[in-house]
């Protein structure tokens, strides 16, 4: 009987994503700014969910928290046409090679959002002696934005999307919720 593996930062047999996004060959600032602006305004996610956070990802694209408002509702089933990979949920060791492979298949301007505590650090599954869960998807992929929560609220996922847009264009495009004026008549709304 082999002794159980010690808890390493990256389990044996797993490899992190090797592909890297090269800097542009010709660096013309206004053109880069223009394309980055367009990329920020149409971040198409992959239809890809791992655990319960995927339910929140579905919720954020549905009626109440509509991700389509920011042009990000086009869930592409094929990874070749997607820009944003939302790692929504627990990345188990068994699934990790597939996640890495999916990331490597995505064409170049690609962004990764780690949704939920499991994808950030292993979340509730991180304890002494655990053997099945990768503790943080950032050991495998270069993560752009971490969205905490267990699972994160749909508003938090939207906020993560805004952070990727801010990362691309170095500007926050939408007002912060706490700076908005209070809703004038909350009682009149949504009353059946």
């Amino acid at each position: 009987m082999a002794t159980p593996d010690p808890i390493l930062s990256l389990p044996p047999g797993l490899e992190a994503a090797k592909s890297e996004v090269l800097p542009p060959l010709i660096n013309i600032k206004p053109i880069n700014w223009f394309f980055d602006l367009n990329r920020a305004m149409s971040l198409w996610p992959v239809t890809f969910g791992l655990a319960c956070c995927a339910i929140e990802m579905m919720s954020v694209s549905m009626a109440r928290f509509d991700m389509a408002r920011f042009g990000a509702e086009v869930f592409r089933p094929s990874i070749r046409q997607a820009d944003l990979m939302m790692v929504t949920g627990t990345v188990t060791r068994k699934l990790a090679p597939t996640v890495v492979r999916l990331y490597e298949q995505m064409p170049a301007p690609k962004y990764v959002m780690a949704c939920g505590n499991c994808a950030i650090s292993g979340g509730p599954f991180k304890f002494e002696g655990q053997y099945g869960v990768v503790e943080g998807v950032d050991q495998l992929l270069p993560v752009d934005v971490y969205v905490p929560g267990c699972p994160p609220r749909p508003e938090a996922i939207l906020e993560g999307l805004f952070f990727i847009q801010e990362k691309l264009t170095s500007r926050r495009w939408w007002p912060k919720p706490q700076e908005l004026p209070p809703d004038p008549a909350p009682a009149a709304k949504g009353k059946k």
Partner: protein, 327 residues
């Protein structure tokens, strides 16, 4: 048609205008489709990018333009790059015989509908090439489905159009418009309601739209024949899909809805209003009905549409014969 300088310049100008129409149509239709999807699902749709999200489609196309063109291993290089172009190119020719207005026909050929039906088949070839060349099991399955579906749905489509041709006695699209009147009850839709219905169903099947979008069914084949295409290749497939939608809508408007003739004031605006009404109808259908199974799809065609369209054609011919004996 004499090939003088004038006709040559005319063809060049009309092809350029058709390209402009195709691109503008794709941009407008992406916006309309996403917005309508939103309204049907009780959400606002694209809202923040530009006023009411109007420049959303421009942003999408710019992003696709700047996306990495990815070539997977073991693909057939020539066919892989040829397929999006062959999806896009025949559509240029297909718009030429369509009478947009009384004086707005790029190429007034005598058998215009024959030209359209003959070259519309090339779109399927591009789907087949794309699925085959990308060396992907989902791609090949999607391509096979695209071919069997398009071949099947072309037949009732042709039968439905043929019954209108029987009525008019001409394959020329301009003459078909001329034979109809300005008011809705003078249009062919009242003379041929069954043909109109059959055409309406089979045009959705022909353009691979939901509920008949089996070639790119997400839940079974990730994205069908364009699974391996990224960036501009994918964008060209989408462009040609929307261009094909617009083309079948124009043919429908010409054959059944009186073309550029309408109440009060004839003109090209009626063609566009009717064609876009059919486009909006197609989008409405897409976001309302679930996808059919593949055997259901073929059963609808072979067991219902085809016998009905043959019956309709036979009835049209018989009635025309009887009428010609009487008068």
């Amino acid at each position: 048609m004499d090939l003088s300088i004038v006709s040559f310049v005319q063809i060049i100008v009309s092809v350029l205008l058709v390209i402009a129409l195709m691109v503008a149509n794709a941009v407008v239709m992406v916006y309309i489709e996403r917005k309508m999807a939103g309204f049907i699902q009780r959400r606002p749709g694209p809202y923040e990018v530009g006023p009411y999200g109007t420049i959303q489609a421009v942003c999408d196309s710019m992003k696709l333009l700047a996306k990495q063109v990815f070539v997977p291993g073991n693909v057939d290089w020539l066919l892989y790059f040829l397929a999006p172009v062959t999806a896009f190119l025949p559509v240029l020719l297909l718009y030429l015989p369509i009478p947009f207005g009384p004086y707005l026909t790029a190429m007034n050929v005598d058998d215009g509908i024959l030209l359209i039906l003959a070259f519309a088949g090339l779109g399927v070839v591009s789907n087949l090439l794309a699925g085959w060349a990308s060396n992907n099991k989902y791609g090949v399955l999607g391509a096979a489905r695209a071919v069997s579906q398009s071949v099947a749905y072309e037949i009732p489509m042709i039968m439905a159009l043929l019954s209108v041709v029987f009525l008019t006695g001409s394959l020329n699209l301009t003459e078909i418009v001329d034979s109809q009147g300005s008011w809705p009850w003078q249009w062919n839709i009242f003379a041929q309601p069954f043909a109109f219905f059959i055409y309406l169903v089979s045009l959705i099947g022909e353009t691979n739209r939901a509920p008949f979008d089996l070639p790119e069914a997400e839940s079974e084949l990730t994205a069908g024949f364009h699974t391996e295409y990224s960036g501009m290749g994918f964008a060209l497939f989408f462009l040609s899909e929307y261009a094909n939608m617009l083309l079948v809508s124009f043919v429908c408007a010409t054959f059944f809805l009186g073309g550029w003739k309408g109440p009060f004031l004839d003109g090209f605006w009626w063609t566009f209003i009717k064609a876009y009404a059919i486009m909006v109808f197609m989008v409405w259908i897409r976001w309302t009905f679930p996808r059919v199974r593949f055997d259901q799809l073929l059963n609808i065609n072979w067991k219902w549409l085809l016998p009905l369209s043959i019956l309709n054609l036979w009835l049209t011919a018989a009635i025309l014969k009887i009428l010609s004996k009487i008068y």
